[in-house]
Symmetry: C2
Subunit: 124 residues, 2 copies
DNA sequence: CGTCGGATTTGACGTTTGTCGAAACCGAGG
DNA sequence: CCTCGGTTTCGACAAACGTCAAATCCGACG
């Protein structure tokens, strides 16, 4: 409509952006912490962190589970479980095509996390 | 043990590491994941995320535990435990002065995390 | 159809985590 | 020296987590 405030435009359903100034510049409020902490937690496992990076850096923006699994020592079901965790956190998206499942990154949330971690703008 | 390892152990392992291009630009290697995942995990709790932000945004760069505790519903010992987690992760530093303990942020690691989450520069 | 292969779900397991209360620690003042 | 207030550590316990093997689901292809 007429409000030029680009911050809190739409707050429809689940994964909305109560977006976040850098935490070094302003205290994170409880509601934001409740929403963003699970995303950090999802990245707080070495396997998931690698999975996330493989998905985010995949050429073409997507990668097949069959290309993810052989890079790890853990079983396929464990990989699947970790992928579900990333999915539930809103960090990735999955699409089934034929017999294979492809994952792609959801840049929105990751951008929020990056902004939150960004150094305070008054830094020297 | 040939190392006088006491001081080296106290130093966060990632203060001046050269690593971490954005994970959207390049896959993060296992060793890096092993090193940085604990930091994400440490931020993966709502209380700790708020604690971290209160410390990082504290005027003067530091804040007393006595100013942190009353902002939460949980007990003082729980706050202390969370602060230890942040300390162990290398995200904050503590200094005792008189009867009070002051915490301050360690920007190094947080900057690495931010870089890792930064959007890939070759994205379209 | 029936079967095969990739992926997810289920059930079970040991481990880790978040929380509390109680106890211990540590400076400061009486 | 003894006490007091702020902080951390110690046990304890339920909940959540990471992992695996087995079962299940879901397209594809004989």
């Amino acid at each position: 409509m007429s409000k030029p405030a680009a911050t809190a435009d739409l707050l429809p359903p689940a994964t909305q952006t109560p977006c976040c100034p850098p935490m070094a510049a302003q205290r994170v409020e409880p509601a934001t912490a409740l929403q963003l902490a699970p995303a950090f937690k999802a990245l707080g496992d070495p396997v998931r962190l690698q999975l996330m990076s493989m998905i985010a850096s995949a050429p073409g923006g997507e990668i097949c589970v069959c290309d993810l699994t052989p890079s790890f020592e853990v079983s396929g079901s464990t990989i699947s479980h970790h992928l579900k965790t990333l999915r539930d956190a809103g960090l990735v998206d999955a699409e089934r095509r034929a017999s294979w499942v492809y994952y792609r990154a959801r840049p929105g949330l990751m951008r929020q996390l990056a902004t939150l971690l960004a150094p305070g703008d008054d830094e020297s």
